[in-house]
Amino acid sequence: MSTFDTFRSAFGALRSHRLRSALTMLGILIGIAAVILTVGLGQGAQAQVQSEISKLGSNLLVVTPGSTTSSTGIRGGRGTSSTLTNGDAAALATASVAPDIRAVAATSTSMQSVTAGTTNWTTTVVGTTPSWAQVRARDLSAGRFVTQDDVNQARPVAVLGSETVTELFNGRSPVGQSVSINGSSFTVVGVLQAIGSTSTTANEDDQVIVPQTTFATRVAANSTRAAVSTIYIEATSQATLTAAYQEAKALLLTRHGVTSTTADFTLSSQQSLLQTATATDRTLTILLGGVAGISLLVGALGIANMMLVSVAERVREIGLRKALGATPAAVRQQFLVEASSLGVSGGVLGLLLAGAGAAVLPHFLAQPVRISPAAAAAAVGVSLLIGVVAGVYPAGRAARLAPIDALRND
């Protein structure tokens, strides 16, 4: 029996029980659509977090004070008393000590009320060095960034984030204007280009950058004068990221006179930030995907059930076909094709439904849904597999029927 004839015969049989076939297919359709959508939601969320974290800069390592080793819990937590210093940053930036580190930017931050004329806005003020723009991969949309000279002279200059500009200057150009922070007057010398606000990290478009030295003398309270809240490190390349990590870690351990178990700082890479940020997303995706997978399993049972009923109903037909020369293999093949056709058509329709869902859902969830071609192909493949697996037992039963028993059944 040719492949074409096998398919024609299978579709003929499915068509003769339209409603039953459609309902069985619906089981697979719902299961496949549910799986694709949950996976798509998970991947969408992951991609979102990923793009946000990559906005921090490239080949980035982040040092924060305090340790989060599992045995002791958090030691010397953030914001209490910082263990990082500008000296640490300077040492890290020394090429002879850490050859795989390209640039280092130490930052000190403080929430401050910033005033321009009569307008008041509370935002994060960051004291740092010129390398910050390089390390964090930020460009300017107007003016210039903080220079080494500004740092050396402790000049009262400031670079504003784009949203900060909107809040304080309401669209007017701020370069050359002055703002007041903690009672001191600063001249705005530049505006950072917007990178889009982020939800997982601080708002990168709403901040004020000032020279580190100016920050210590005019912005921060005396107690935290030299305190550094974060040191950003840029490795020379993606390939040297691990080497840079080791160098930074060794250097800081030596400088602080601690071992890795008593470390008073945390060194993390973009990769580890990403992992932490996506871990919960992934758990949720797996959980939901599991539930969706169960509905797919129920759909598979539906196919198996329908095929068993179909074999029982068609004992006479099977017997006759065998009497006329159908081999057991041909009979088995026919039922397998029927079952897998149900599976695949359910899978393809489920994929279409998921596609429609992916187009509509983001309007309600504010959450991107990403259906990759691989996931789509896998869905169709899985539905085919489900059809075949669900059809194996019923098809085997049909193939084993003795022609005479099948014929006599009346």
């Binding site: 076909r321 009497a323 006329l324 020369g325 159908a326 081999t327 057991p328 014929l407």
Partner: protein
């Protein structure tokens, strides 16, 4: 000189239902030679259909041997048997056994489908076979849209479509009027003339008279007295 094409030796078929066991065939021995036209007669329940099922490799004897063209059928695999049924045997079943969802020519083409004949040729040959039984104008009718006699003739057409060397027909004229009966018997006569082996089961003496010889069966045994006729 070749041996018999069908050879039964002490064939028994026993059906067991709980405590009760029925000997549908109680030790049948018979030979049929190639090209013979044999009628099988006997009262209802005597085992005629059971005999045909065994001869057609649809059922296996409880004991005894059946050799088809010199080969012991019990040694063959399911797949080999399917092939023999497909290529060498044409069946007309007592209950027609047409598939209700398929129209006349689709029913008739079934054996060709499993023989791997291409679609165009299948339709051609099915149409020719239906023409031979006088149903050229009923190709696209489903069994439900045909009379009992017409259905029986579709069943005959299906048995002829592969041009098999052995035709096993269980009451092929049971539902036909005398004219159609004569037509079908004329067909068998023609096939017999072309060297085909035919076994025809019937209740009617005048149908049996068309055959070269008649085997009479009673209570699962070949009736020796009648068999001589």
């Amino acid at each position: 000189m070749t041996g018999p094409v069908l050879s039964l030796r002490d064939v028994r078929k026993t059906y067991v239902m709980g405590d009760l066991s029925v000997d549908a065939l109680a030790g049948v021995s018979m030979d049929v030679h190639e090209g013979e036209y044999v009628a099988v007669m006997g009262p209802s329940g005597s085992g005629k259909s059971t005999l045909m099922h065994i001869l057609g490799c649809l059922d296996v004897p409880t004991s005894g041997t059946y050799e088809l063209a010199g080969t012991d059928v019990s040694r063959m695999t399911e797949t080999e048997l399917a092939e023999i049924r497909n290529r060498r045997i044409g069946f007309v079943f007592q209950g027609f056994n047409l598939l209700p969802s398929l129209n006349a020519w689709r029913n008739v083409e079934l054996p060709l489908l499993y023989a791997g004949v291409p679609r165009d040729e299948r339709r051609q040959r099915a149409a020719r076979a239906l023409d031979r039984v006088g149903l050229a104008d009923r190709l696209d009718h489903r069994p439900g849209e045909l009379s009992g006699g017409q259905q029986q003739r579709v069943a005959v057409a299906r048995a002829l479509v592969t041009d098999p060397s052995l035709i096993l027909a269980d009451e092929p004229t049971g539902n036909l009027d005398s004219r159609s009966t004569a037509d079908v018997l004329g067909l068998f006569e023609e096939l017999s003339g072309a060297g085909r082996t035919i076994m025809l089961i019937t209740h009617e003496e005048d149908v049996a008279a068309a055959a070269q010889r008649t085997v009479r069966i009673r209570d699962g045994l070949v009736d020796q007295a009648g068999g001589a006729a």
